[in-house]
Symmetry: C2
Subunit: 877 residues, 2 copies
């Protein structure tokens, strides 16, 4: 394997081998753009470095030196020369960008000889010695681990001695002295002399960059951001000839986006500094100017910049984020990469690049991150208003959405205030299972520890609440009732606002904006709809939700949960009386009343979805879910007056009788349908009556009846006989066929395994992936997410929460088995999934690949599902 | 298809086509034994009869008449002849015997002409007219549905008129008169004349027998005994020339077993009656004599009988149950079938027939019913003592074992008495889920309704308690506190004894005998052990259980549940303190104490099983199972003195913190092992230390460590790393390898689906079929068996309780998948099952076929598993 690539030898696609930065530099070089000559030491060398006990082979170092010679040839400078010295920068660059996490050394090649050459060459000895000083400091810090404060003390003493306050005022002599003291500091710290030989400097620098890959900061960063070895397994090293933006008023340095990353508009965006190096921009000692100012100040350079940006965009077909340096009027590109933008900017650029002819619609959809689109579907910080609010701290964005509320440190207090109607932001060092009640009571969660898979992050995402974790700047003192970041102190009860999309914590209450659907987003969705194969349906239980789903583009309802209708306030009493019925006759009487209500509900929903299928699931939960909790009721009865208590006692007895050890696997779904057939009879009849009455009014209703919790064809056949009887009865009454179909959920493992038999009766399948996941893992979601799941994810036993992203290896394998068996028995059978996975991009991609016909998601996630479906279609078959 | 088989045309193997009785008659005919000439109308004709709207085709009836002619030829009698008439019997006979459930007509062919021929032929006109009377009555009843009481009234009037009291005293004239009145009664009832033409009589009789297949009694019988259409789907009709055991003192009839069905001893057993017909034996009007008396009374016939029995046994290689008739000195066989015997008689005959050279050992084992052997493993009625006790009633034997106790009708009273230490027999019309607490409190259950799959039957079998259901003779009046059978009344609180193996309810307390292992049973087990392929291991958690298991022949322990050791009285306190530990350090301290105890337990068990594998399962249940129930504890705390209450409050808080919604799918097994690694560390260390110390003492211990609830290879690898560390540590200390292996339970569905990956880490698999069944069906066993499972079985949605007999289609399919994936990844890997299915014969057969290496069962079921394993080996591959 070739260990070193000169920039004209590498390829922009080889990010794994060359790292992101190296690949970009190679690609720009091959485009003929003005990149300073340089080369990449590959990530493969980095892996060898660790494999061989942190060493680099002689062969590789020879290759490095050969490439240094080539830089010298191309720049016309000389390595180690005291007259015309070649200086280089050494920078890390992994396949995935890890901003600020690894190390950079500038001006490498300087020593007591070459510094004279630089002085002569630049005609600016002060500049040369200042460069030398900076080099020794960076090198000493990165290679030898000398603390910054050691250098700062030396510099401060020099300034005092000379009687000046700014670095820039230090004289050449002072700087010489500082360099010598810096070197002495290094010697004391490292127990060896500062290396004068540029070859040795380079070898030590390359090793230090490799070592920084396993530095504590970098390891933590990768863990928190789930950058696993299959994504990036080492860093490359970029060695580039130095160019200087600080060689006078015709020199400058800048960081530019080819389009505005805030709103996506087509204009250069960014800042530059005249007579400065990149460091100065970062250090914030001088205020950079907006790029628009270049038009007047450096008109030629601006021209070049504009043309370069246009070339890069045309080549990469993506907005770019670039670094440039102007050295005495000469323009150099030091980096390019795809610009990171917020979701709405991504959407705008997608739409505009299509109209500019830069990309086609397929690419316009594919370049979006479906996960990122979620930002647009939660409340977000009002960007204008946020400027008026101070930032308290910044942590890891763990669950999107923005929320404001009072800071509360105590779990019990959070529950009390939350239940009293206050908006509460729960602030903890970290959270534990026993804190979960406070999650329910809070509008957002903020922790100072933990990463994206910490307990707080997993639970908050499960609940859809905004959450920031790992906000390390924040020091929480719960006893004192304060949290502190820098010199800002927030007391318990004061207001903060958290932005779970960016990880920023604001002081005070920042106004938020409700999500809205922009015209550009509509356009993207339209393109996505045309490009996808998967159908997208909605989970909706009310006519209002059905209408909303249509607005978002749902092509039907994949899951209409009939029990939600029973839980409505005007019905729950009726439903309870049905459960309490002493015999079948009384139960039927109560059901007759419920039937009228359900028929009307169904008719409204079917009408709202006219022309599209509506999959109605028969009663799923166990009956005791509709009754009060026995212990609570017993407590209340103890305090009731005698006659009231007497009236409640039968309810208590029934609740106790129906109680279960494991309700998730108990008397529910089709099992209730079998033992209380009158309930399913009522529901099926209500569907037929609704469909028949709509048909008479000329409304094209397409209801599908779906039986939950089926595990055997015997159960399904049993319900099918009831269905057939009601169908015959309805058709007799109606005088013509009523268009209702009959299918089954596949959510019990045994249903998946015996799908061929089920398909002989079922006209369609719908996977209930939530229950199927629970059964496949033997995880009760309620128990797992609060208890062991976060620890599983932190320990790496689970890469993803399987209740959010479908487990392809286990659950997916069963789905594939069921689909294949089902379609063998009933060719072309319709297969869908309903449940939360339907709105998760990776799960949507899995469903596309598995040959599922449609996914059903909650209405507000339909856009995400639509985009994910289009991306899946674009990327494969 | 040939619709009618003359007895020399049929084949003894064709039971499905000819029915059991017909096949036996054909077989005996082909052996040259004296069977009266006759023929079989096949079950296929019966199916056509139903298919064609209860008609029989002309073609079939022509075949019937041709065969009647052949009977006439062979007997030398004439059909419809007034001089020498041929008379026949018409009897049902299905593939499965349904005693007393279908109909029989004797003396068919008699009419006003032929009766004269019979009179002349027999020289006994009274006999002829009495036969005619009986024929008309049976025919009238079976074909026209005339009530017996109508005939009885006529007969009583005739006797009164003649002034006699017994039937036998009626004169020929009186009988003539009775016949004529009987016919008139039939005419009135049927609206048509009694058929005089024997052809018409025969056609009507055959149809009536077919019709009786769907008679209410027969349908109910089949339902209760689970005789499904795949076992028997119609009845055959046997038409046989009549022979008469009531033609004088040289005539007789009898029912004989070739060996004693009570103890299996080799002697003829049964009764006979001189000058009588079969009916007389059944009617009980005369007392039959034991067969031994025949030696003196009818020595020649006895000789023939003995030789015939010997011939039949040699032919069928099974003890037979035969009917014979002696007609004026001539010996006829009317039926033969395999004798039904109790379990110990079956075993004795198996052993003796081998020593007699009648059968080989393989057949000796195969002919036993493994299910029936269960009788020998429960307490049973002391046969000698039972003779001194009256039988109250007889119902359906639903769950084996015998028990005596006070009759209690009220559920609450049963619970109270049971908890007070009384032996209670719960007596109900039927049981419901809310009665389950009374099941726990009772020693046996008796119901007057329901079949083998009723709620009572399913729940009692699940608990291993004796149970009789469907005891229809019993009229229960719970309000009056009595139950009545015939004229016997039993009051609440009086003692009864139920025998769940036979369905007999005795009055009073009948002594029972503890199960014991006879020498014959030992012999059979020895043969079974040699013939089987499957290994048989035991589920055992104590050294005592291990020794018992060895005695029963266990070849290892397949499941040693370590948590049972924690539940012992001297340890539970320690375990609770471990759970209550404030931090890892305190927890480790508690665990160190537990480790000493576990090491000693393990050492004792391993020693008891020396040379055989012992599979030790790491902690499985959730931690809250070891703490008190929070609601109960809260109640107790409310009544405690202040300081005691204060001490208990942390326990309450911890119990609440650990409580789960669905504990079955919650924080248990490997999930506890991951989150509290110190617990598994302790257990694994205890195993290594026990094994190492035994090895030092020269004891060959073979421990296998098994991780429960594993769903992914990541979990297993996580525990494996802990195991590897402890193994290295132990081997360092011990100075040599310690023979411990590492495997996984397959009880989570995802484990089965990803078995190939698990097999890369696990050295063996053990299926936890109970949990796997729960997860595959999404049935919580605790909830299902008490609630909907019985109704599922009554409605035919489940043929068997999947927690007793492995569900081959669902759970078995997953097992097959796991075995195949597992062995692909690790060829020849050991695969076992542990759990209750290991003791169920059908499940053992499934495991044999699926290529499982061993089953593990509770010690007392090892003999059953051994026999079932040998039968599986004998029947297949």
């Amino acid at each position: 394997m070739k260990p070193v690539y000169f920039f004209d030898e590498g390829h922009g696609q080889s990010r794994r081998l060359l790292g992101g930065k190296g690949a970009g530099l190679c690609e720009m070089t091959s485009l003929g753009l003005p990149v300073p000559p340089g080369f990449v030491v590959t990530t493969a060398v980095c892996k060898d470095y660790y494999r061989n006990g942190r060493t680099i082979s002689d062969k590789v170092m020879r290759a490095v030196r050969r490439n240094v010679s080539r830089i010298a040839r191309e720049t016309g400078k000389k390595w180690k020369s005291a007259r015309n010295p070649l200086l280089v920068s050494v920078r890390s660059g992994a396949a995935i960008s890890m901003p600020g996490m690894m190390d950079t050394i500038l001006n490498l090649g300087l020593n007591d000889d070459t510094v004279l050459g630089l002085a002569e060459q630049s005609g600016n000895p002060r500049f040369a010695w200042d460069s030398y000083r900076r080099f020794v400091q960076l090198f000493g810090k990165v290679v030898f681990g000398v603390d910054d404060s050691t250098f700062d003390d030396i510099l401060d003493a020099a300034k005092e001695r000379q009687g000046v306050t700014g670095d820039a005022e230090l004289s050449e002599d002072s700087l010489r002295d500082v360099v010598s003291q810096y070197k002495e500091a290094c010697r004391r710290h490292a127990g060896r002399d500062f290396p004068e030989d540029p070859d040795e400097q380079l070898e030590l620098a390359v090793k230090a960059v490799f070592a920084s890959w396993m530095g504590e900061r970098a390891v933590v960063y990768r863990e928190k951001n789930r950058i696993t070895p299959d994504i990036a397994d080492g860093t490359a090293v970029n060695v580039v000839s130095m160019v200087f933006g600080n060689m006078g008023e015709d020199s400058a340095t800048g960081v530019i986006f080819t389009r505005d990353p805030g709103d996506g508009s087509r204009r250069l965006f960014g800042d530059y500094l005249v007579n400065a190096q990149g460091e100065d921009v970062v250090a914030g000692t001088r205020t950079p100017k907006p790029v628009a100012r270049m038009v007047r100040e450096l008109p030629e350079a601006y021209d070049t910049l504009e043309k370069t940006c246009s070339t890069l965009e045309k080549h990469f077909r993506e907005p770019q984020d670039i670094e440039f340096t102007l050295e005495q009027g000469r323009f150099y590109l030091l980096q390019t990469r795809s610009a990171k933008m917020n979701a709405s900017a991504m959407i705008r650029t997608s739409v505009e690049m299509v109209s500019e002819g830069l990309i086609d619609r397929k690419r316009a959809v594919s370049r979006l991150s479906a996960e990122q689109l979620e930002q647009l579907l939660h409340p977000s910080i009002d960007a204008k208003a946020s400027k008026d609010h101070d930032t308290l701290a910044r942590g890891i964005a763990a669950s999107p959405g923005a929320a404001s509320g009072r800071v509360v440190f105590d779990v019990r207090e959070a529950v009390e205030l939350g239940e009293a109607g206050e908006s509460v932001i729960l602030v903890r060092e970290e959270t534990k299972p026993e804190d979960v009640p406070a999650f329910f009571a809070s509008v957002g969660i903020l922790t100072s520890r933990g990463g994206k898979t910490s307990h707080a992050a997993v639970v908050a995402r499960g609940m859809g609440k905004p959450c920031i974790v790992g906000c390390a700047q924040l020091r929480i003192d719960a006893d004192a009732g304060t949290c502190t970041a820098g010199d800002r102190v927030v007391r318990s009860g004061e207001h903060v606002t958290i932005d779970g999309a960016t990880g920023i914590v604001y002081l005070g209450t920042v106004p938020t904006v409700r999500p809205r659907m922009t015209k550009n987003f509509q356009t993207i969705l339209e393109w996505a709809r045309k490009g996808k194969r998967l159908g997208i349906r909605a989970n909706a239980d009310t006519p209002e939700a059905a209408r909303l789903a249509r607005k978002y583009g749902a092509e039907g309802i994949g899951l209409c949960r009939t029990e939600r209708m029973f839980n409505a306030e005007d019905r729950i009493g009726l439903f309870v009386r049905m459960i309490m019925a002493r015999d079948g006759a009384e139960r039927r009487a109560r059901l007759a009343e419920l039937q009228r209500l359900q028929r009307s509900d169904f008719a409204k929903i079917l009408k709202a979805m006219e022309g599209y299928p509506v999959t109605i699931r028969l009663l799923d939960p166990p009956l005791h879910e509709f009754l009060p909790n026995p212990e609570e009721l017993a407590g209340r009865i103890a305090q009731m007056p005698g006659d009231e208590a007497a009236a409640q006692k039968p309810v208590l007895a029934r609740a106790r009788e129906l109680a279960e050890v494991n309700p998730m696997m108990g008397h529910r779904g089709v099992r209730v349908g079998v033992t209380y057939p009158e309930i399913y009879e009522m529901q099926i009849r209500a569907v037929f009556e609704a469909a028949a009455s709509l048909a008479r009014r000329g409304v094209r209703a397409v209801p599908q009846i779906m039986v939950p919790q089926v595990g055997s064809v015997e159960e399904l056949d049993h319900i099918k006989r009831i269905y057939d009887d009601i169908r015959s009865e309805a058709e007799r009454k109606n005088g013509r066929p009523v268009p209702v179909s009959f299918g089954t959920m596949i959510e019990v493992v045994r249903a998946a395994v015996t799908a061929d038999r089920l398909a002989s009766t079922a006209e369609f399948f719908s996977f209930g992936t939530n229950d199927l996941t629970q059964a496949t893992y033997s995880f009760s979601r309620e128990d797992a997410e609060g208890k062991f799941l976060p620890e599983y994810m932190e320990k790496g036993l689970l890469a993803r929460n399987p209740f959010q992203t479908l487990d392809a290896d286990g659950v997916g394998e069963l789905m594939a088995l069921a689909i294949s068996k089902g379609r063998d028995a009933r060719p072309g059978m319709e297969v869908g999934i309903c449940g939360e996975h339907g709105g998760d991009p990776d799960s949507v991609r899995f469903c596309h690949a598995a040959g599922v016909d449609y996914v059903s998601a909650s209405p507000h996630r339909i856009p995400i599902a639509t985009v994910a479906a289009a991306q899946a279609a674009a990327s494969g078959n």
